[in-house]
């Protein structure tokens, strides 16, 4: 992993500028700032309807200091593919001008990725479009006022799951990995160096890359804004959110999650849940089910990793 000093030295430049209208402690802001530190200014971003649409600033003010276009909710992956095709076409007409070196990036919320945007994303993944698609996951429709998404975890309160969500969090990174794209990774805003490394790697790979970042939301999850990093860290430590990479089909657990294969190493789930108001009403039954679900996720990873050991080298 990159050293903190090295990472900071190499990315003094801030590309997502102050003056944006993110809430204090916004997970998205940290995710985007660190992603852009790794990707650098030669990046063009497409964002569908999401918090990001709003926090970048009201027209004509703007916080991103790089090319940025807003897009319809379901359209980000296809629009980024089109943009990337245009860069290729321009590279053909205007060779050696760097048009083929631009990273085409999508930054979308969990609704825009796991729900309304999944068709376009699946299309881009199947085509292996040369884009980097990032889902910043705050686990509900926060921009419209905290409604459930398919990425909301079991038992969580939202304004449309007033007794806690019955169903479970959709495994989007798993779905993307099943498309057999060259690179899939999960990140947490509590691990910026891990995130930095993964974005650096994604930038260097041709084809469709997918990074899923857990990005806590103070008003949506119900915790104090200064606790964002702590909450995100607990999501990792309790094993609720697992950090890994899938590179050309090979899964590797990332440093902070590696030891948690052993369930005794995980912090108690209640440490994570008790920080957040959205779980304050969770029933005993839901709590048990949520624990079981997390255990299942780890079992699946365990099986995947042991299968991989038998892959022909």
């Amino acid at each position: 992993m990159v050293k903190l000093k090295e990472a900071l030295d190499s990315c003094q430049e801030e590309l997502f500028l102050p003056g944006n209208s993110c809430c204090a402690g916004c997970g998205l802001e940290i995710a985007l700032r660190w992603a852009m530190k790794a990707l650098g200014p030669n990046t063009a971003l497409v964002t569908p309807a999401s918090c990001l649409n709003v926090v970048i600033g009201l027209w004509p003010k703007t916080a991103p200091n790089f090319p940025f276009t807003n897009m319809a909710f379901a359209a980000a992956a296809a629009a980024a593919t089109g943009m990337e095709a245009a860069f290729k076409a321009k590279a053909y007409r205007f060779p050696n001008k760097g048009w083929d070196n631009i990273t085409s990036l999508v930054f979308a919320g969990d609704g825009g990725t796991a729900d309304i945007g999944i068709q376009g994303l699946s299309g881009a993944a199947e085509r292996n479009s040369n884009i980097l698609y990032v889902c910043y996951d705050n686990e509900a429709y926060m921009n419209t006022g905290i409604q459930r998404s398919s990425s909301t975890p079991h038992g969580a309160f939202t304004t449309t799951t007033t007794k806690g969500k019955e169903r479970y969090k959709k495994n989007l990174p798993g779905i993307l990995a099943a498309h057999e794209i060259p690179y899939v990774a999960t990140c947490s805003i509590s691990e910026p160096l891990d995130l930095y490394d993964k974005f650096k790697k994604a930038k260097s790979i041709k084809g469709c890359k997918y990074i899923h970042i857990l990005a806590p939301c103070p008003p949506g999850w119900g915790y104090q804004s200064e606790e964002s990093i702590e909450v995100a860290r607990l999501a990792v430590k309790t094993g609720s959110w697992i950090l890994y990479e899938v590179e050309n089909g090979i899964m590797t657990l990332s440093k902070k999650s590696k030891s948690l294969l052993d369930s005794s190493k995980r912090a108690p789930l209640v440490d994570y849940l008790s920080k957040q108001k959205r779980f304050s009403q969770i029933s005993e039954k839901d709590l048990i089910e949520l624990k079981e679900h997390i255990e299942h996720n780890w079992e699946r990873i365990n099986i995947e990793l042991s299968c991989q050991e038998q892959y022909p080298k």
Partner: protein
């Protein structure tokens, strides 16, 4: 390995091709840089032909994105156009409806995207045959739209459209519609023009900077499309779209004139094309492929001594209000023939509503009879069209309306049901 050509190569030649293939040739002649497509009947052979061109290396540098839906088709060409390239796609019917959100987006972003539409009737029940309700239902999206009456016109109109749409004073997207199967799947001789001549006619491809108002360029970081408050310029941007439409009328006319000078084919003044209207007493306004057959009907009736004429409507948006008024005023009675519906409107037919609205303040305006026919590909024969003209002549002479009028509109050719 396919050998990729160094450049687009096309000598002037006449090919016997389907309307869809003519559309694909037009895109190639226009050197489009990014194509995104999704198959839908009856548009499919457009995307097949373009794949063939692309796979055979005949469109060097052109990127062809095969997406998973029409929503993504339009998203992709919007992304590509924003980044400063000439783009093309084709679709029809349900595809347009599915992409409706993105269709608004393209116009709001003022992107000069050109799209061929092999028009078909909306479902249910499923219908894949000629009916212009698909394109006309996009009336208020901010897209220009025109109709083609012949195979050659499809090729020619697509070329003319790039010249209109990409004018920096216009910058609007455009649909070029032609009847599904009737033109899309029948073959006729089409002149494919010499590449060098087309290059001279069309504006050059967008410069490295792209369009003047929108770009995606790390050297010039800029934000596009972010939220704007009611006190911001949203309202003004909308007004400017309408303004561009009104100005586009003159541009369509001048481009049609230039086209005629360069290639020798005339399409009236670009907005409308008159046929034997000058001494006519009775006329029709008609569009799409039915206009071609109506020429024959007019011709036949002229031989029988009837003073009839016709106006081929080429553009639906912008609607040529002045040209329609000036032309329609030449006759005493005019029939307006729609192959499309506008349910619950004054007449039930979209173009007849437009014509009635255009004539509203004209003193001594001719009688207008709205006619709907051929919906969902229902055959409209030459004989039927001749009868429509004769019926209008009778209406003009005796004031006698045809007996099967429904709410003031003649739904011609309905099956008789007990």
């Amino acid at each position: 390995m396919v050998e990729v050509q160094k450049d687009f190569i096309q000598e002037k030649e006449t090919k016997i091709i389907k309307g869809n293939v003519a559309a694909a040739y037009a895109a190639k002649s226009a050197r489009v840089q990014v194509i995104s497509a999704y198959p839908i009947t009856p548009q499919t052979t457009v995307v097949e032909k373009l794949s063939e061109f692309s796979d055979n290396g005949e469109m060097p540098g052109t990127q062809y994105i095969k997406v998973e839906s029409e929503h993504s088709v339009f998203a992709a060409v919007i992304g590509a156009s924003k980044a400063g390239t000439r783009t093309f796609t084709a679709t029809a019917g349900q595809g347009i409806f599915y992409a409706h959100e993105m269709i608004h987006w393209a116009a709001g972003a003022r992107l000069p995207i050109v799209v061929a539409i092999a028009s078909r009737g909306p479902a249910p029940p499923w219908n894949i045959w000629a009916d212009f309700t698909d394109v006309i239902s996009q009336r208020d999206t901010g897209w220009m739209s025109s109709f083609c009456a012949s195979h050659q016109e499809i090729y020619d109109e697509i070329l003319m459209s790039y010249k209109v749409c990409e004018d920096h004073e216009i910058l609007l997207p455009k649909f070029i519609a032609y009847g599904g199967f009737i033109l899309s799947h029948t073959s006729k001789p089409v002149i494919i023009e010499d590449q060098e001549l087309v290059d001279r006619f069309l504006p050059s491809l967008p410069s490295e900077e792209g369009w003047p108002h929108i770009w995606m360029d790390p050297k010039r970081p800029m934000m596009f499309g972010n939220l704007i408050m009611p006190s911001g310029f949203y309202y003004e941007f909308r007004m400017k779209i309408h303004d561009a439409f009104i100005r586009a009328k003159e541009k369509v006319k001048s481009v049609a004139k230039e086209f005629e000078q360069m290639f020798g084919r005339s399409y009236g003044n670009g907005l409308i094309q008159e046929y034997k209207m000058d001494d006519a007493k009775v006329g029709v306004v008609i569009y799409g492929d039915l206009a071609l057959q109506m020429e024959q009907a007019v011709e036949d009736l002229r031989e029988e001594g009837y003073k009839v004429g016709m106006i081929k409507l080429r553009h639906f948006r912008p609607f040529p209000v002045e040209d329609i008024i000036n032309s329609v005023k030449k006759v005493e009675t005019i029939g307006v023939i729609d192959r499309a519906t506008a349910f619950g409107s004054q007449t039930g037919g979209p173009v007849s509503c437009e014509v009635k609205s255009a004539l509203h303040e004209i003193k001594e305006a001719p009688n207008v009879l709205p006619i709907i026919n051929g919906l969902g590909g229902r055959e409209v024969s030459l004989e039927q069209q001749k009868n429509q003209l004769k019926m209008l002549v009778k209406l003009n002479e005796t004031g006698e309306l045809p007996k099967d009028i429904i709410h003031g509109t003649l739904w011609d050719g309905l099956l008789e049901v007990e």
